[in-house]
Each structure stands twice: as C-alpha cells, then as structure tokens.
C-alpha cells in the first residue's frame, strides 16, 4: 500500500498568502477538508491544554510581529483557503516546539 505522494510547485515569487494555494486548491485536498477540520481539532485538543487556547488568539491577532516572513502570510493563506481557523493552523506549526521536552 506504499504510495508516492503528490508533488506541487510553490512559487516563491508570489505573495506568501498564495504560496500554498496549488496544494490547497487541489480537488483531492478540497474533498478532504471537512474531515481535516475535525482531525485538526482532535489533534490540537490532545496537544494543547484547553486553558492555553486563549493565548493563541493573542498570538494570531498580530502574527507578523511574532513570526518571521514569509511564514505568517503563508499560514493566513492556508487558513483562508481551507476555512480552518488561523489559530489552529498556527498551533499545528508550533506543535513540535510545544511538545519536544
């Protein structure tokens, strides 16, 4: 059942918000988004204490101040394209640094 993964081009000459659109707009990915939204919530619930979730709102309110270019814009682009909450996208990207100890 091993399967090669799909390969996409990320055009760094476009705005960060557009970098991951070729992946996000793939019909195969779009078809999975309702399921992904639930899986993302489950993953975050198991990684981050519920009390810490409000802190994510603080972080996402001024993402450009906390994260270097182009990462903040890329996360906004993915959130817009998938409809997944920006705070949840940010949390997934912080998962390693939150849990590696």
């Amino acid at each position: 059942r091993d399967a090669p993964v799909k390969r996409y081009v990320v055009d760094l000459d476009t705005a960060p918000e557009e970098h991951f659109l070729p992946i996000c707009q793939d019909p195969d990915i779009q078809a999975m988004i309702p399921m992904l939204k639930k899986d993302v919530k489950d993953m975050i619930t198991s990684l981050v204490p519920e009390e810490a979730l409000p802190l994510l709102d603080v972080l996402t309110s001024d993402l450009d101040q906390y994260l270097p270019h182009p990462f903040a814009g890329e996360m906004r682009g993915i959130a817009n394209c998938t409809g997944i909450n920006l705070g949840e996208i940010v949390t997934l990207n912080l998962a390693y640094d939150l849990t590696a100890f």
């Binding site: 993964v5 390969r7 000459d13 899986d39 990462f71 890329e74 640094d97 590696a100």
Partner: protein, 232 residues
C-alpha cells in the same frame, strides 16, 4: 523517526528517513512534496503536510539534504523560557526551511543548524553532495551538544539516528537503532542505493505503526528525491 546518511563505495551520499508521529492516518492523507521555485527554478524541495509551512525533510539540489528527528530533553517550561527570553531563538521547522532557502553548501548548512538558538531540542541529520559529507547534529536549545560525522576512510560509512543521543544506548522498549544498523551492515557499502535504503527503512521496528512516510534523497542527484506514504 529514523534518519540515515550513508556513502556508497563510489562516494555517492544517500539520505533516507522515516517520519514517525501520532495521528498517522490524518497525516498520511495530507502528506505532500513541494518544489519551492523562484524564476522557474527549484531552490529547494521539502516533504511536508498540508498546513505545515516549516520543513522536517528537505533537499537543496547539489547542496545538502536534511531531516529532523525529535529529541525530548528537559521540561516544557524550558521551551517556554527560551521562547520568552531569547528573541533570537527559532522555531525548529522554520530554521530548517530558512536554511534550505539560504545556505548554499553543506558546510554553511551545518554551521547554521548547529549554532542558531532554538526553542526546543532536536536532532538534525544532514547529508552533502560530496564524499564524507554526512552528520548528526545533536541540538540543545542554545547550541550543538555534539556533531557526529561519517568517516568512510575509517569504516564509518553511515550515521544512523533515531530519537536518542548516539553516545547512549536506546531504551529496550524503543530500540530502532539496532535493527536499523543490522540492516545497514547486512546491505553493505557496495550495495547501498535509493532502493536498498528504502528496504532498510522498511525492516520491522524501523518501519512501525507510527511511520507516516519514507523519503529518499541524494543532494548530488536531486532527481532521486521521492517520498512514499507508508501504511504499515
């Protein structure tokens, strides 16, 4: 995770990795490869998950390859302190992607990955495009604790890292190092290549229920880079 960098008898460097993590079925469905291009040329390539903008596995063509294995050391508050008090500290996966974008050689990549302050500890496994370019960087939050390099002239033709410091024995309940090394030694330097590296990464325990993907890379032959979702 398990990462291996090896040099074959002709001097070609091969880099293979298994990425093991929880939430396997979720992650397998959203695993992708991305060629990051500027002016139509690929600057670097990564294997990642939809929504994850950092890099855990990647290749700078004709420069270097890199993979990340988790290193669990210290306490959660040490990560928090590093993030709050050291504004220079990077998120691990962002540092990898920035290195792929900006480091134009193996040596520059090693320097940057070894000495940039990080929020959390990690192992960086790096392969180059030239003979004897392969290393495991054991990172603490502030700097490298150890840089363990291959030394083919003295018989160390590969370095293999799982999730434990290489100078200590892995725990018996999670020993992927022993079966991995046994498979490498059985394969031998003459026979190591993309296909046999994939087989090594498919032996039991090295391939396990948490394995989401296997990637094979070779910086000097960038067209080799490929990734397979694993359903063990």
């Amino acid at each position: 995770c398990t990462s291996i960098v090896a040099q074959d008898s002709k001097g070609t460097i091969w880099h293979g990795r298994n990425l093991d993590y929880g939430f396997g079925d979720f992650l397998r469905n959203i695993t992708v490869m991305a060629d990051f291009q500027t002016k139509g040329q690929t600057l670097y390539t990564t294997t990642t998950y939809l929504g994850y903008v950092g890099a855990l596995t990647g290749q700078r063509p004709n420069g270097f390859t890199v993979s990340v294995d988790e290193r669990d050391q210290g306490a959660w508050w040490m990560n928090a302190l590093e993030a709050l008090l050291n504004r220079q500290a990077s998120l691990m996966s962002f540092l990898v992607r920035e290195t792929l974008a900006e480091a134009d050689s193996y040596d520059v990549a090693i320097e940057r990955l070894a000495y940039t302050p990080l929020i959390a500890p990690v192992y960086f496994i790096v392969g180059g495009a030239n003979v004897a370019e392969g290393a495991v960087i054991t990172r603490d939050r502030t700097s490298a604790l150890d840089i363990w390099t291959m030394n083919p002239a003295q018989g160390r033709w590969y370095v293999l890292e799982t999730n434990y410091d290489h100078w200590e024995e892995p725990p018996a309940h999670d020993d992927r190092r022993t079966p991995g090394m046994k498979a490498m030694n059985t394969t031998g330097q003459d026979a190591i290549n993309a296909s046999s590296m994939f087989q090594v990464l498919s032996v039991p325990k090295v391939l396990n229920r948490h394995t989401t993907y296997t990637a094979i890379m070779s910086a000097a032959q960038p067209q080799v880079y490929n990734t397979w979702v694993r359903w063990p």
